[in-house]
């Protein structure tokens, strides 16, 4: 690992002052960053440790739940308020990584983990995300894990987070601090598609810091499910995952939220499929129809065509679990 300077500024203001310089990176849990530094994928000159900032709390507000950026993934997944108000988030978190990594990883860090694939990690391979302009090794390579939505010829990697799929489905809002003041952006607009700039995973501007996420209260706690399909039963990235949340009364769907993981450069919210469910009976037929709508525009590569079948199947199954149709 390349040498770097390590600093631990005392206050949030000092952190904001410290992160303006190019070559500087923030470290929280470090589970993705240290891994990438060891492999020579990234080599910052300076690390700014933010772990001592008071951003760990999980607090209810009048309209929802505020979760600090430094709350640990394990803490959030076991938190009583989260379990009561947003069980989907807990399910998504528990589906991700391993217990050890969840004890280190923070909410903000989980969001900032790189969208990535094996070609990004392998420094002997071309990768536009790691080294813009070198090409995409995955495009005509072994692309079994890769995107079926929103990809570009520059990059077909997927964002590996489960937590982020849950937060995208739950209409979360990202609270960001910067030198010019705070700003808030919808979670679904935090991460970006690769386009011509796959080196950029999200819309956090240089010099900005995630301070937390807010999840508005909803009526989804009773009928919700996170279904993750992977190569082994636990501790593996999703081939496809689905966050499903329904508001059902009298057997009729009043409201719905759906998002997919493992299929795009960002958590993939299924707005049209959600709309198709509203007013419909909570039946397998409604769910299959929504899954069909969700797949519009999907495009497979040589080795990931199985996702074109797996994704709608996973959507249907996640919705059935949500509606307790088992």
């Amino acid at each position: 690992m390349k040498q770097f300077q390590y600093i631990r500024p005392a206050t949030q203001q000092n952190v904001l002052d410290a992160i303006t310089k190019p070559g500087t990176k923030i470290i929280a849990g470090g589970t993705n960053l240290v891994d990438l530094m060891k492999r020579g994928v990234t080599a910052p000159d300076k690390l700014v440790d933010i772990n001592h900032l008071p951003l760990k709390s999980i607090t209810p507000s009048k309209t929802g739940l505020h979760i600090g950026a430094l709350a640990l993934n394990s803490t959030v997944s076991e938190n009583s308020l989260v379990l009561q108000k947003q069980p989907l988030l807990s399910m998504a978190l528990k589906a991700g990584a391993s217990p050890q990594l969840r004890n280190m990883a923070t909410v903000g860090g989980n969001m900032m983990q790189r969208t990535r694939c094996s070609y990004f990690y392998d420094t002997t391979m071309p990768c536009n995300k790691r080294e813009p302009g070198t090409g995409c090794g995955a495009l005509e390579g072994y692309n079994r894990m890769h995107a079926i939505f929103g990809a570009s010829p520059q990059c077909i990697a997927v964002h590996p987070s489960d937590m982020c799929v849950g937060l995208a489905a739950l209409d979360a809002v990202v609270v960001i601090a910067g030198k010019k003041g705070d700003r808030r952006i919808p979670f679904t607009e935090f991460h970006r598609l690769p386009g011509d700039h796959p080196e950029t995973d999200n819309h956090l501007a240089p010099g900005e810091l995630i301070v937390g996420v807010e999840i508005p209260d909803n009526n989804f706690a009773k009928n919700t499910y996170y279904l993750k399909v992977r190569d082994r039963q636990s501790y593996a990235f999703a081939l496809v995952s689905v966050a499903a949340a329904l508001d059902i009364s009298g057997g009729v769907i009043r409201n719905a939220r759906l998002a997919m993981g493992g299929v795009a450069h960002k958590p993939w919210r299924l707005f049209d499929a959600e709309k198709s469910l509203i007013g419909k009976p909570a039946t397998e037929a409604s769910f299959k129809h929504a899954a069909q709508i969700a797949m519009q525009g999907a495009k497979a590569y040589e080795y990931n065509a199985f996702k074109l079948k797996m994704a709608p199947g996973t959507i249907t199954e996640a919705l059935k679990h949500s509606a307790s149709l088992f």
Partner: protein, 214 residues
């Protein structure tokens, strides 16, 4: 089983031969200095000025507790907790498997929580309490989980075992050992390529059901 008692730990060797870059800097600074302005430079080299500059960039002081013993070390920011435990403190019970957070062989407890020490920077455990496999036994008396792993043959080659045991203890403390399914899910961060999983699960279940204090 011989227990390496924490109070027998060697002190950090500040002049360890692996600090080759520092030695190189020291030597090259001396050679350059002698070539240019002999009198001043020789004095500077004698005062170890260049070495101090190099050290300020490379090493930071940390204080933390390992298995109940306070440690004051000087570490490079890039040194992981795993490497510090193994190479500076001689606590080689914690194993380096993949070194990328994928196998769990390096699992230790930091302030009571199990973490991958290979992805933890040493500078970030400043002020914290670390427990390694060497810190579980009380003298010659094994921890109940160590006893259970022996009884149930929870290993073949043994390389993943320290990480498995540290994870298993945390799994029970966290309250995630209530069924075989739950144990398997919450032990999924520890890979055993010999495939001793059924026996590991049996060992954990016995400790859990025995109501031992872990």
């Amino acid at each position: 089983m011989k227990n390496k008692m924490p109070d027998t730990l060697p002190e950090c060797d500040m002049e360890a031969p692996e600090n080759s870059r520092r030695n190189f800097l020291k030597q090259s600074a001396l050679i350059t200095a002698v070539a240019l302005t002999p009198a001043v430079a020789t004095k500077a080299a004698d005062m170890h000025v260049d070495e101090k500059i190099a050290e300020a960039f490379e090493k930071l002081p940390i204080k933390f507790e390992v298995n109940g013993v306070q440690q004051s070390l000087s570490v490079e920011p890039r040194a992981t907790l795993l490497d510090i435990l193994r190479e500076q403190l001689d606590l080689t019970g914690t194993k380096k498997g993949c070194d990328y957070g994928q196998c769990g062989a390096c699992t230790v407890h930091v302030d009571g929580h199990r973490v991958n020490s290979c992805l933890t920077l040493g500078v970030m455990v400043n002020g914290k309490k670390v427990t390694t496999i060497e810190g579980l036994a009380k003298g010659e008396e094994l921890h109940p989980m160590q006893e259970a792993f022996l009884k149930h043959d929870g290993f073949q080659c043994g390389y993943c075992t320290p990480g498995q045991i540290m994870s298993a203890v945390a799994c029970i403390r966290e309250g995630h050992a209530n069924s075989e399914t739950e144990i398997r899910e919450f032990m999924s961060g520890n890979i055993c390529r010999c495939g001793a999983y059924p026996n590991i699960v049996n060992a954990i279940q016995e400790v859990k059901e025995g109501g031992h204090a872990v």
